[in-house]
């Protein structure tokens, strides 16, 4: 039984028994881990609202015999509570948490992804994150976890993607018209969408118009669902409540 403290973000919680919670944490030093928080639903003092999804905190943990640590206490660094003032901000924050939960691995630290998530939640909290910044976060998160989609040049032949590109998650991104027969499951992508995603990936910060944003997210959702093996629940939520 080893005691340690680690900087962490709460990715989600599941109620356990009458008073306890299992908390999924994304920690800086130990990657994703599950921690058992005894009495978390009843104690007003020990965890006092700190185990809400998205809270940035220092977690005091104890290793146990199984895979789940014991959460002994927390000190909140930032709760990002202004995110809760806006439905779109809540939806984006929870989507990013779910994406990171699925992309990160147990006991595999990922500093770049951790910093990107803290930074993005901070932007949402400060009301400085527009809808395009979510696409940028998705692209960064995919890059930091080794899933970076390829938008230019053609993922198969290396030539320019041209005016009739196709997007195929199985082959890692966009292919040109000449290579299209080799990717039968690829979907048609508009050149301006491919170009916008390539520019965002290269670091451009220009907000995208709503139509371009919607088409870009369609491609990214397709890519993420292919690599994770399922569509993220928060994506369906965003579609149902009409936020992007």
């Amino acid at each position: 039984m080893e005691r340690f403290a680690d900087e962490a973000l709460v990715l989600g919680t599941v109620d356990f028994g009458d008073a306890d919670r299992i908390v999924t944490l994304f920690t800086r030093g130990h990657g994703r881990l599950s921690a058992f928080a005894a009495g978390a639903r009843k104690s007003k003092k020990r965890f006092a609202g700190a185990l809400e999804a998205g809270t940035h905190l220092t977690a005091r943990l104890v290793t146990t015999h199984g895979d789940t640590c014991r959460l002994d206490g927390v000190d909140v660094i930032r709760s990002f509570h202004h995110v809760r003032d806006d439905l779109a901000h809540i939806a984006r924050a929870l989507y990013c948490l779910e994406l990171c939960r699925e992309l990160s691995r147990d006991n595999q630290p990922n500093d770049a992804l951790f910093d990107a998530l803290v930074h993005y939640l901070g932007l949402l909290d400060d009301k400085k994150a527009g809808p395009t910044s979510l696409i940028k976060f998705e692209l960064d998160a995919l890059q930091y976890t080794g899933f970076m989609p390829h938008f230019s040049p053609c993922a198969l032949c290396g030539q320019p993607t041209g005016d009739r590109p196709r997007f195929d998650p199985e082959h890692g991104g966009v292919v040109c018209a000449a290579c299209a027969p080799r990717v039968p499951r690829g979907v048609a992508a508009r050149p301006e969408v491919v170009d916008a995603l390539a520019r965002l990936q290269a670091g451009e910060r220009k907000p995208l118009p709503p139509e371009l944003r919607a088409r870009s997210r369609e491609l990214l959702n397709l890519f993420i669902a292919h690599h994770l093996g399922r569509k993220l629940k928060s994506v369906e939520f965003m579609e149902q409540v009409g936020t992007d």
Partner: protein
């Protein structure tokens, strides 16, 4: 060998929330040791609850009247029908009722929006709340969902639907609980309490 009947009872009891295998065994043996009338009364109460208790067709609270009729809250003429308190579940409705401060009516959503669990508006009784607006002269909706991320998301979504149709939407105040301790309050609670401070 434990008799099959006991094993079946233990298995059923162990399905209850918060009841593990050991607790289920303890409960089963308690039932067995009790007078037979107790077990029969317990069985009858369980069957009665399943057969008779239904959801009110207006507010989706529980009631045991005939199918298609309204619950006691909806039928009570002393309650103000212009004021509706929206709650997540029956337990929250009971908590508000215990205050004896609220004299309006209720609407039970049977859950909250939860992006991480995949619970969207379709899975809740939100559509029914909007339809209710057309039948009754509701002037104010008090959103009494929990002050967590899911509760806030639900409140914001309801506000987005209700405000455009001219209904006043209010939210339960948030801040330091009675008898609470400032030292242990989290920053979000304190910030909300400061923002919602009142004149003395």
């Amino acid at each position: 060998m434990t008799p099959d009947a006991i094993n079946r009872l233990v298995a059923q009891l162990a399905k209850l929330p918060g009841i593990g295998e050991k607790s289920a065994q303890r409960l089963a043996f308690h039932v067995l040791r009790s007078p037979p009338e107790y077990a029969r009364a317990l069985a009858a109460a369980l069957i009665e609850v399943v057969d008779r208790v239904k959801l009110c067709s207006r507010c989706f609270s529980l009631h045991d009247g005939p199918e298609g009729t309204f619950c006691g809250f909806c039928n009570d003429p002393r309650r103000d029908e212009r004021l509706v308190c929206v709650v997540e579940g029956i337990a929250d409705e009971m908590a508000i009722e215990r205050t004896r401060e609220f004299k309006g009516r209720y609407h039970v959503l049977h859950g909250v929006l939860s992006p991480l669990e995949g619970v969207g508006p379709e899975q809740l009784r939100i559509k029914e709340l909007i339809l209710r607006m057309q039948d009754t002269p509701i002037e104010e909706v008090i959103v009494a969902t929990n002050p967590d991320v899911e509760g806030e998301a639900t409140a914001l979504y309801l506000t987005r639907l209700l405000k455009p149709i001219g209904v006043k939407v209010s939210r339960l105040a948030q801040g330091i609980p009675m008898g609470g301790d400032l030292e242990y309050a989290d920053q979000a609670t304190l910030a909300r309490a400061l923002a919602a401070r009142r004149d003395l």
